[in-house]
């Protein structure tokens, strides 16, 4: 009988030793994920990522170039606004590279957060009709943001090399090695906070309006366009509490040799990320079960 080969044995019945593949009960618990089912959904994750990418540049003239144009254009605007007009100091680093390094890191966080934050609202039509492991959706959007980041990161490296950085291969190797955990940290922070927001928006639509605005404020309180040293001493606490300050500053420091952030900001940041990720996953696992009743 081929129905036993699918595995996923969850429970032994009272009728004997025959096994059930699927058991649906009113489940409790806050961290209740079917990881095996999520793993089986890897083809779906691949298709969702592909959809995200293919659909972005269909019917556009420049196509995938938009992944590159957007950060470069924003950086140029920043150079004009904050560099040439406002004359914010960048500590000797070329303003273009300074802003681009900040933006590349920040954008990665913002897209990881943004894409996961409206999962229930934007997938209501699918969630209401088909069951699959819901965790596949945030995972696929995280992979999409990671790929976008990879493109923009390469772009940044090209510009950095053009400006005469990355001469020392040993320095570059060290930077590359340390960028990996930094990216992982940023992804987890974006995912955690995105999951929190996505679960809460099923109950409170207000959050949907708030999040774009909050993200903008958050960016300006993160040292994307200014060095931390520019802040008055008693304001620098912001960059210790703000969990995005550490990765943005560290990324810049690794590749452009600007000062490293206060180690305390990493400790606080990792703590906040762990809490948000745990909270986000719990809320998500709780919400996914009944979201179709409320959205």
């Amino acid at each position: 009988m081929n129905n036993l080969e699918t595995g996923l044995t969850t429970e032994t019945t009272d009728m004997g030793d025959r096994k059930w593949d699927t058991v649906v009960t009113p489940s409790q618990g806050w961290l209740n994920f079917d990881l095996l089912e999520t793993w089986r959904g890897r083809d779906l994750i691949f298709m969702l990522v592909k959809r995200d990418f293919v659909s972005v540049y269909k019917q556009t003239v420049l196509g995938p170039l938009w992944f590159v144009i957007q950060p470069v254009a924003t950086t140029l605007v920043f150079v004009l606004l904050f560099g040439t007009i406002a004359r914010l100091p960048t500590g000797g680093t070329p303003p273009f590279l300074f802003y681009l390094s900040g933006l590349v890191t920040w954008n990665f966080f913002a897209t990881s957060f943004g894409k996961t934050s409206d999962i229930f609202a934007s997938n209501a039509a699918i969630f209401g009709k088909v069951y699959f492991a819901r965790l596949t959706v945030p995972i696929s959007s995280l992979i999409s943001s990671l790929l976008t980041f990879a493109i923009q990161f390469v772009l940044f490296l090209i510009f950095a090399a053009g400006f005469g950085y990355l001469k020392d291969p040993l320095m570059a190797a060290r930077a590359a090695l340390l960028t990996i955990p930094l990216v992982f940290y940023t992804a987890m922070l974006g995912l955690g906070i995105g999951l929190c927001v996505s679960s809460l928006t099923t109950r409170f639509r207000d959050l949907g309006y708030l999040h774009g605005f909050a993200l903008q404020l958050w960016m300006y309180s993160t040292p994307v366009i200014y060095p931390v040293s520019l802040l008055p001493i008693h304001w620098q606490i912001i960059s210790v509490i703000n969990p995005m300050a550490a990765p943005v500053t560290t990324f810049r420091s690794l590749w452009l040799g600007t000062p490293m952030p206060d180690p305390m900001s990493w400790i606080v940041g990792i703590g906040i990320t762990c809490v948000l990720l745990f909270l986000g996953l719990s809320l998500f696992s709780h919400t996914q079960r009944l979201a179709t009743d409320t959205v």
Binding site: M1, N2, N3, L4, T6, E11, T13, R18, K19, W20, D21, T22, V23, V24, T25, P26, S27, G41, D43, L44, F46, M47, L48, K50, R51, V54, S55, K58, Q59, A125, I126, F127, G128, K129, V130, Y131, F132, R203, F204, R205, D206, R289, L290, T292, D293, T294
Partner: protein
């Protein structure tokens, strides 16, 4: 293992909280909490939701609506089980629970083998992607692996009959092509248990038959099928066994013919499409003998097809010559208590003041196809003369259903309209821009 149980449902129940859960705004939630804290009625409770089920007070419990209550049944390997019941009986809730879209409040479902459910076709189709890309995306959403899709790709494209457009974005497809492609993917799922909603109610007749045949194949290959439908013909053709839901409870379980009989007679016992009225005690001038709703074939029916015409027949008796007689007929849409059609016998216009002679009369009013949208309707017939009412009856009911799928292509919800008139819609391309505006101005 031919008699192996593959689905076991025990004591299944699902409650929906009415009115209070779905504000979507923090402000409203606070308002509700505050009102309840003060012991006042919740200002945000939605009475509209409740009124839909106003005749089902037994389904309300502490502000919760029992969409499904204590349902238990088993399905054996290779069975084709039909799930029937009126609108609102709990069919779609059961379907959602079986396909794991939402979780039960009570009880359990146990299943063995890979389950696929089709509550609609084309879920997740992305308009910008091509037909081929959407096959992979939709297949993955329905739980097919990449290799399965690759293997079946030829067959899917073949089944869809749109090979020449397979690399065109689906946003350029006609709705017919869209449905064909969507169903082609669904038809090539290879689950051990297949749960199907009324997705068959789409497409032209030939394509529908093709889909029914495909389902028959699934069944013949020894797999288990759960089939929810209003289409009793399709149910009796496909299913050997049926369960009947009513008011959220399981009220029938057995061979299809028996359950369908039970269903049809249950519907007709309360809400009959035809009634005969006894002679009144004592003398009378005019009385209604019988009112019936008949389908396109002229037979009495409680269910009429949206795409077919139907008639209402009125038999009445005049004991004396009645001057100024008026025989009137109203068709009322029950859900909103709205009179959709109001007619009276034009030959009896009372300015003519001539009397209809005593005797027995039969009137037959024919309604065109597509006049009424799906729903439950009540018929009221009255006889009067110069304000004097002789006889009024209003206990005749019929339901309009849409088996052909005119109003619900692509699994869309029922359109919120009372009429389902399908009018011609000619369009012409204008060579010049908005010439009529100047004419309007000069006029």
């Amino acid at each position: 293992m031919a008699n192996d149980t593959v689905i076991k449902v025990e004591g299944l129940g699902k409650d929906y909280r009415l009115g209070v859960i779905n504000h979507g705004m923090l402000y409203r939630d606070l308002q509700s909490w505050f009102a309840r804290w003060r012991g006042r009625p919740d200002p945000n409770a939605k009475f509209k939701d409740v009124s839909l089920h106003q005749q089902e007070e037994h389904r309300m419990r502490e502000g919760n609506f029992l969409a499904l209550d204590d349902v238990s049944f088993e399905v054996k390997q290779g069975d084709t089980l039909g799930i029937v019941g009126r609108n609102g009986a709990g069919k779609s809730t059961l379907l959602k629970l079986l396909s794991r879209i939402t979780q039960p409040t009570r009880g359990s479902i146990r299943m063995r083998g890979h389950v696929a459910s089709l509550l609609e076709v084309g879920t997740g189709f992305h308009p910008e992607l091509t037909g081929r890309e959407n096959i992979f995306l939709n297949g993955a959403i329905l739980g097919m692996s990449r290799s399965t899709i690759q293997r079946q790709l030829e067959a899917i494209i073949d089944f869809s009959e749109i090979e020449q457009f397979i690399d065109t974005p689906v946003k350029r497809y006609s709705s017919g092509m869209y449905v064909r492609l969507a169903f082609a993917v669904a038809a090539h799922l290879e689950p051990e248990i297949l749960i199907v909603d009324e997705v068959l109610a789409v497409g032209d007749i030939a394509f529908q038959r093709k889909c029914l045949d495909k389902m028959q194949n699934v069944h013949d290959s020894g797999r288990t099928v759960l089939f929810v439908s209003h289409n009793l013909t399709a149910v009796s053709k496909l299913c050997s066994r049926c369960i009947l839901l009513s008011g959220g409870r399981l009220v029938g379980d057995g061979p299809t013919a028996e359950v369908l009989n039970e269903y049809v007679s249950a519907v007709s016992s309360n809400r009959r499409p035809s009634r005969e009225y006894p002679l009144p005690e004592g003398p009378f001038e005019a009385r209604i003998q019988r009112v019936s709703v008949t389908g396109a074939d002229g037979k009495i029916t409680s269910v009429t097809e949206l795409a077919e015409k139907f008639s209402i027949e009125i038999d009445y008796e005049l004991a004396a010559a009645v001057e100024g007689l008026s025989v009137g007929l109203q068709v009322i849409f029950i859900e909103s208590d709205l009179t959709v059609v109001s007619l009276s016998d034009p030959e009896l216009e009372w300015s003519r003041l001539d009397a209809r002679t005593p005797g027995y009369y039969t009137s037959r009013v024919e309604f065109p196809a597509g006049l009424l949208n799906t729903g439950l309707y009540q018929v009221r017939v009255g006889m009067s003369a110069h304000g004097k009412v002789f006889h009024v009856v209003e206990d005749i009911f019929f339901e309009v259903i849409d088996n052909v799928g005119i109003m619900i292509p692509l699994g869309q919800e029922r359109k919120n309209a009372i009429l389902a008139l399908q009018l011609p819609w000619p369009s012409q391309r204008q060579e010049e821009k908005a010439r009529w505006t100047t004419e309007t101005h000069s006029a």
